[in-house]
């Protein structure tokens, strides 16, 4: 009975999160086109439904019924495997993201946390590990296509992901030092108490009269933002699929549902890194004021609402940057990653460690 309740609750939570993420992916495909066009004096999709709001459905139907082409000379097994390797890690990371307060419900003798699928104690490591596996999808897809553009895109993706994943990992170490935990739920809980206690400002870590000293993680935040933009292959770091140089990079030979898988993986990755950013740096489900306005069940909704606002704000930043900046050159990308971002992230670790040592 306990096993049944536990499994049932997990399945329900997974279903809710999956449906939410897939719906958000659909919304994002439209939102990106609309926001980009608004920033460029255009209108965006206007044909399907009023103001084009049904465009994601039309796109989905189109991709679903498109011919599924495997190029001759391609490695069929890896060619089919690559989209799946891309998509699954992008979705699997949502298992450890806290969407709301850390409450526990007793149901038939089983303790259930309704706002997180599983609160494992190495949550952030788990996310990073699966994000690296997702890069294999890109590299294998580029190699298996038997196409020079795909291969070049895959190679670029490999180099870029290795360079920038390092920076992501180092940028979040400052937050981990402050929180003393790898669990995303604990990291979010430690930032309670309003805007000043979020890790991006970082007050409240000193003892006694030194409570106001900010151990700010704003440099780590900037490094994190730039690195995740590079890691999710978004402009201005979209060298793996540079349209003007490599046709479509590693996606050149993909069509139909396999292309849709890559597409969904890209957007799911964007949502995932936005969730992680809001949990690590922007206080997760905490409001910028101390405590909550509503009480009881309303407080939970308030938390989820603030989390949603932060995630969508971060996603808007992705589109905003894409509308503004042109693509970097490959050597600029590498130099920026290794000579600027990496020393900054390392310096941030050192400074944070010293600050925390002195304050505690």
């Amino acid at each position: 009975m306990e096993l049944l309740v536990f499994t049932g609750a997990a399945v329900v939570k997974i279903a809710v999160v999956m449906i939410t993420v897939l719906l958000t992916v659909a919304v994002l495909t439209l939102a990106e086109r609309k926001i980009l066009s608004w920033m460029q004096d255009r209108m965006g999709p206007m044909e399907v439904g009023p103001y084009g709001i049904l465009q994601p459905i039309a796109d989905g139907i189109k991709l679903f019924f498109k011919e599924d082409i495997v190029p001759s000379g391609a490695n069929r097994f890896l060619f089919s495997l690559a989209p799946i390797i891309s998509l699954v890690p992008a979705f699997i990371g949502f298992a450890v993201v806290p969407y709301g307060p850390n409450v526990e419900i007793e149901l038939f003798g089983v303790t259930i946390k309704p706002f997180i699928i599983t609160d494992i104690n190495i949550g952030i490591l788990y996310v990073l590990a699966f994000a690296s596996i997702g890069a294999y999808g890109v590299i294998l897809g580029g190699w298996a296509s038997n196409n020079k553009y795909s291969l070049l895109g895959g190679l670029r993706a490999a180099a870029q992901v290795i360079s920038y994943e390092l920076n992501v990992g180092l940028a979040i170490i400052g937050v981990i030092i402050l929180s003393g935990s790898l669990s995303l739920m604990t990291i979010a809980e430690k930032q309670a108490g309003g805007l000043l206690n979020w890790n991006i400002i970082g007050m409240g870590h000193g003892e006694g009269i030194w409570w106001w000293v900010p151990v700010t993680q704003v440099i780590a935040f900037v490094v994190y933002v730039i690195s995740v933009i590079a890691e999710t292959n978004r402009l201005p770091f979209d060298l793996p699929e540079a349209d003007s140089e490599l046709v479509a990079g590693w996606m050149t030979e993909y069509s139909g549902m396999r292309f849709a898988f890559f597409f969904m993986a890209e957007y799911a990755n964007m949502i995932l890194v936005s969730c992680i950013a809001s949990v690590l740096f922007l206080g997760g489900y905490h409001a910028p004021y101390p405590g909550t306005i509503l009480s009881g069940i309303g407080a939970y909704f308030e938390g989820v609402a603030w989390f949603t606002v932060k995630v969508y704000g971060f996603l808007f930043l992705f589109f905003w940057i894409r509308a503004t900046l042109p693509r970097l050159r490959y050597d600029q990308l590498m130099r920026f990653g290794w000579k600027v971002m990496l020393p900054l992230a390392l310096a941030n670790i050192v400074v944070t460690s010293i600050a925390v040592y002195l304050l505690r």
Partner: protein, 185 residues
């Protein structure tokens, strides 16, 4: 590198200026609604074409319904792409009067230069403002005389008046109506 430059580099100043520009447009476009889009929703709203627009070519008629074309072949001679094929013939029983027995245009080759219209001595050819002529079958673009006349009827409802002193039996291809002397009454 001065200190100002260093500070600007470290704070991504130039990038922030660029992001301010895009955000300004966004706010003007969506929140303040002071900035109209440049997009033209083509099939729903159509642009006003200029007067000299060179679209599909049409054959014209006089106001009494007779064809203007006198079968002189000058358009065929003027055409750089060999679009036009004219077979000229005499009107039965009227040896001075000629007409185009067949008049066909291969619009797949036409480059819409308008030289045939310039060449025509009787202004029988005109360029309409029609341009949406995509076809599934290439043969639908081989136009014959009735189709060209229908194009002219469709686009030029006001026909030119046939001059009174123009004898119906006289081929007038070397005197365009613009160069005719004013009618003395």
């Amino acid at each position: 590198m001065t200190v100002t430059d260093l500070v600007k580099t470290c704070t991504f100043y130039e990038i922030l200026v660029g992001m301010k520009a895009t955000m300004t447009v966004f706010i003007q476009r969506i929140i303040l609604r002071t900035r109209p889009p440049v997009t033209f929703q083509y099939p729903h709203e159509k642009r006003d074409l200029p007067g000299g627009y060179r679209g599909m070519i049409a054959l014209l008629k006089y106001d009494d319904g007779t064809e203007k074309c006198v079968g002189c072949d000058l358009c065929e001679a003027a055409c750089p792409s060999r679009v036009i094929t004219v077979v000229s013939a005499e009107v039965e029983g009227e040896p001075m009067k000629r007409y185009a027995k067949t008049y066909s245009m291969d619009m797949t080759r036409c480059l819409f230069c308008g030289l045939c219209v310039d060449a025509c001595p009787v202004d029988a050819l005109a360029m309409t403002k029609e341009f949406a002529w995509a076809k599934y079958n290439k043969r639908d673009l081989l136009l014959d005389k009735p189709q060209l006349l229908a194009l002219g009827d469709r686009n030029f409802p006001e026909r030119e008046k046939k001059l009174e002193f123009q004898h119906p039996n006289v081929a007038t291809f070397n005197i365009g109506h613009k160069t005719l002397p004013a009618k003395v009454s």
